[in-house]
Amino acid sequence: MIPKGFSLEGKVAVVAGAGRSWLKALASFLAEAGADVALADQDRKQMEEAAQEVKNWGRQAIVIPTDVTSYQQIEEMAVAVTSQWEKIDILVNSMDLQFAQPLLEVTEEEWHRVITTNLTAVFLCTKAVGKHMMERKEGKVITITSVLAERGLPNSTAYCASKGGVGQFTKALALEWARQNIRVNAIGVGWISGEAEGEEGELRDPLVRYIPLRRLYRPDDLGALLVYLASDASSYVTGQTYFVSGGVMAHG
């Protein structure tokens, strides 16, 4: 049973980007809470799996192949969603390109690729979908980001800069759209499963010891918070990045 206020019954959500293979999990949380979900990315397989998951919850799903770094394609996607369901209530930006190199070895091309995927795509999707929210003066924008939005890490200048940019984008837009009843927030996730990232066991153990709750992040961990920020329950929350990090943000 879903507590009163958390329900997304009758809501339309767009999940843009399939960073870190989380599309299926994100779509599933939204559908469980009652939303119909449009999936916008280029990864066909992930989108089909996510759509099936949405249907398993008895909700509708549409798959719209989209390059989330192309404004034209995103606009077309948003029009397709609104012509199907007449509105978009929720946008989840979940693009994520992981990249680690010492600064002196980062090429211009690599830098641009990280910033384009992690930051510019958030701008493009939020602008194209936000236009439709603005017409109805109602909406929720939620961007999935990382503890590296606030904390530094060696060999991660491009990634940290892109995620820090998302945090400031979130604050500034939250103020800009506050009176239009559009809430803009982010969820910063912690260190994720080493296996999924292909990390060696050697790196993994000290990492787990470093995390106060003594385990790595799992995609399920952000589910309820995503639904909270997508629902009317968070009517007074905007401009925030809430972290789900197992406690690492409390560390010295």
Partner: protein, 267 residues
């Protein structure tokens, strides 16, 4: 996954439970399934909050407590634990902002008395320490428990004339972080909620004058804080500890310029 948001069978202690936010949090936790022990130093307000919880079909008792007195707090917590055999959730919501603490009292900083300072710090910061200390051993023995500290946006930013309040609430936030790091391995999670301005004990007219200064255009309603407390009290936030969740209508997102101020810079 969302069934984890339920608090069925849980017992929560809410300090300051008779106040605006404390009552709203008590009711939200009760709606999610918890039984509530309401504590407050104001019997009338505390009794009435407990009665509202009972009206929702949950169990509730009121225990009069002054959180600045450790013996009273220890006695309250012992009674709370024995009431239904356990305490799963502690919400430290007791606080004070009134002028008798010397804050914004219209007098110079150097005229704040020891007594005023202690009243503020003892209620807002030491009270959260006393209550957490009183329940922590019980939670560690049961290898489970959640503490939610009600901090404030003013624990992260300064306030003209707000010496005690800002200092105490910043202390609550660092107590939250350090306690989270200390008790994480024992299965205890400690988080803070940092509210902005909510319509609680002051007059409607006063809050009406504040509406335009909040980015979303209005002061918050106490019921709007409930769902966040339910989330942090439930298993749905299992991977969240040592965090500060601000809920403030956008206030902390800005603050460097007046709300609504749009600099016109040609680019």
């Amino acid at each position: 996954m969302l069934e984890k948001l339920t608090l069925d069978g849980k017992v929560a202690v809410v300090t300051g439970g008779g106040g605006g936010l404390g009552t709203a949090i008590s009711l939200a936790l009760a709606e999610a399934g918890a039984d509530i022990i309401v504590t407050d130093f104001r019997p009338k307000d505390g009794e009435s909050a407990a009665a509202e919880v009972v009206g929702l079909g949950r169990r509730a008792v009121f225990i009069a407590t002054d959180v600045t007195k450790s013996e009273e707090v220890n006695g309250m917590m012992a009674r709370a634990i024995s009431q239904w055999g356990k305490v799963d959730i502690l919400v430290n919501c007791a606080g004070i902002v009134r002028e008798e603490t010397g804050d914004r009292a219209g007098k110079p900083f150097w005229e704040i008395t020891d007594q005023e300072w202690h009243l503020g710090i003892d209620t807002n910061l030491t009270g959260a320490f006393f209550c957490s200390r009183a329940v922590a051993k019980h939670m560690v023995e049961r290898r489970g428990g959640r503490i939610i500290n009600i901090a404030s946006g003013f624990g992260l930013r300064g306030l003209r004339g707000g010496f005690m309040y800002c200092t105490a609430k910043a202390g609550v936030i660092l107590l939250t972080m350090s306690l989270a790091l200390s008790l994480g391995r024992e299965g205890i999670r400690i988080n803070a909620i940092a509210p902005g301005l909510f319509r609680t004990w002051q007059s409607k007219e006063m809050y009406d004058t504040r509406d335009p200064f909040i980015p979303v255009g209005r002061v918050g309603y106490p019921r709007e804080i409930g769902a966040l407390a339910v989330y942090l009290a439930s298993d749905a936030s299992d991977y969240v500890t040592g965090e500060v969740f601000a809920i403030d209508g956008g206030t902390l997102a800005g603050g460097s310029a007046p709300t609504g101020y749009a600099p016109v810079i040609p680019i």
